[in-house]
């Protein structure tokens, strides 16, 4: 297949647009999650989303619309659980995540077992994204990114130290809820790109890569987005040329970037 010929296909153009926007959003959000040691929240919410998708498929409703409110409510539940029940954040994520996936398995069993639809959500297929899915992803990405950019300094301050942020007049409680909601929305939005099982990779890996080699917050933010978009575009192309599953390929490209950054970090330390 000729490289430029690829861009004649609408499904590839849709995949590229959606990939760029979703990857950019995930990586921008991911920096705050990684720095606040909430990396696993993406994984937990993805498992919850699985339950929502199963309900959607069972009731013959669009899974996206069922998964979205379930994921948002669950993210708020995780926050409440860790605050009120004095449970460690990772334990709260673990509880909600396990319950979510157990719920999804039961529902899918009632629906007659795992079917192709459910698998496409579990492992994602960015190349099969419809026009409507693309527009929804673009709009949600713009909203999520807009909110993050507007509150960027405040999120940064909270990531550095929540108490200090509070003493400079930042409403940390409100922003914690906002971050939870944004994460839930982003996870559901990303499930079509890399799938429920791999969505946390889009949140964690680009930020983790950038954190290896950059020591300024703005540079970390910029390169996290850059790595993420690069991995999605490269992943799409590789999956097309070698006929590989797109979601898993995107995650692998991300991992290779991460290894490269680790290598650069090692070189830098050796030079000192």
């Amino acid at each position: 297949m000729d490289f430029f010929e690829l861009f004649k296909y609408q499904f590839i153009i849709r995949a590229i647009y959606t990939g760029i926007f979703v990857a950019g959003t995930c990586s921008l959000l991911g920096i705050f999650l990684v720095l606040r040691r909430l990396s696993l929240i993406g994984d937990g919410l993805a498992h919850i989303t699985f339950g929502g998708v199963a309900i959607g498929i069972l009731t013959k409703h669009e899974p996206f619309y069922i998964a979205m409110p379930i994921s948002v409510l669950s993210s708020l539940g995780i926050l409440k659980l860790s605050q009120k029940a004095k449970i460690y954040g990772d334990a709260a994520i673990g509880i909600v995540s396990a319950v979510g996936i157990a719920f999804g398995v039961i529902i899918s069993n009632i629906a007659g077992g795992f079917n192709i639809d459910l698998f496409s959500y579990l492992f994602g297929n960015i190349l099969a994204i419809s026009k409507t899915d693309m527009y929804i992803s673009l709009i949600l990405s713009l909203i999520v990114c807009g909110i993050i950019i507007k509150n960027f300094d405040d999120f940064f301050s909270i990531a550095f130290d929540e108490e200090l942020a509070q003493v400079t007049g930042i409403n940390t409680k409100k922003l914690n809820y906002l971050l939870s909601i944004l994460t839930a929305v982003t996870v559901v939005m990303s499930m079509r790109v890399v799938g429920i099982m791999l969505v946390s990779a889009l949140l964690i890996l680009p930020a983790a890569s950038a954190l290896q080699i950059f020591h300024s917050f703005k540079k970390v933010a910029f390169f996290s987005v850059f790595f993420s978009v690069l991995s999605v575009l490269t992943g799409i192309l590789i999956s097309l040329f070698f006929n590989l599953p797109s979601g898993a390929t995107i995650v692998f490209v991300n991992f290779i970037i991460f290894l490269f950054c680790l290598f650069l970090k090692h070189l830098e330390s050796a030079r000192r």
């Binding site: 200090l164 003493v167 007049g169 020591h215 300024s216 917050f217």
Partner: protein, 256 residues
């Protein structure tokens, strides 16, 4: 409550689920005070400070600059530095400038670069401005956090164990900076430390805190207090007060 009161604290209690940290504490801090809050490890000093900033649930009344702390919004007037080693992530990806910038209050409309430069110069770390904080020594990181607390040019500075990682020389110059702020710029300072002997020469007031206010007054009163003699034992009291005299003597010699 007078308009000279920076803090008015009435019947303040803080408790954790299975444990009362302290109950029914009342005191006030006046404008221009240099208050040293001292006490042993685990005595609740940092908990007291956090409750004073509404960072912990409490019962009782706390008024800061005459406003209930629960509705207080003029955070530009406060500079706070928490206990460093309890929270600081040394791998956080930020330059010195970015960390200091984080301290700028939401309602401070002055140009950020000017505020940052002034804060960094005030404790002599302007040359570190663009360095990643992760690459600095413990003492330098501590000074960055002090600059962060100073960046709004606050009326009240609350510092929790600020000198833990500092070398003796830097600690001395840091205290001189605080002294200048207190005596010449009339800033109110509340300093938490467990080093009772060392702060005696700087503080105008001393609070000895051990899950309750054991003593609240001047260092001179502390040294002359019979009840403190009974509490610590006269030898210990003598030792603490002599440590202060030793510091003073050294200081006087240096001055002469």
């Amino acid at each position: 409550m007078t308009n000279q009161d920076v803090y008015t604290v009435q019947n303040l209690s803080v408790k954790y689920p299975r444990n009362n940290i302290f109950t029914n504490i009342s005191f006030s801090v006046n404008k221009g005070d240099f208050l040293a809050i001292v006490g042993p490890n685990g005595s609740g000093k940092s908990t007291l400070v956090k409750s004073l900033l509404n960072l912990l649930p409490y019962t009782g009344n706390i008024f800061l600059f005459g406003t209930d702390i629960k509705t207080f919004s003029d955070w530009q007037r406060i500079g706070y530095m928490p206990q460093k080693f309890s929270y600081f992530n040394p791998l956080f990806p930020a330059t010195v400038k970015e960390v200091v910038q984080l301290g700028i209050s939401k309602n401070n409309n002055n140009p950020k670069d000017i505020l940052i430069d002034k804060a960094l110069r005030s404790i002599d770390i302007h040359s570190l401005k663009d360095k990643p904080i992760a690459t600095l020594s413990g003492g330098q990181q501590q000074r960055v956090l002090i600059a962060r607390a100073l960046v709004n040019n606050p009326e009240l500075l609350i510092l929790d164990e600020p000198t833990v990682a500092l070398d003796p020389d830097i600690r001395e110059s840091f205290f001189q900076i605080l002294l200048n702020m207190n005596r010449n710029e009339y800033k109110t300072i509340m300093l938490v430390t467990h080093d009772i002997g060392y702060v005696g020469k700087y503080a105008t007031k001393l609070m000895y805190f051990d899950r309750n206010i054991i003593f609240y007054g001047t260092f001179k009163d502390f040294c002359e207090s019979e009840s403190m003699g009974d509490y610590f034992g006269y030898r210990t009291q003598h030792l603490i007060c002599n440590m202060e005299h030793q510091h003073l003597q050294i200081n006087n010699k240096e001055r002469s």
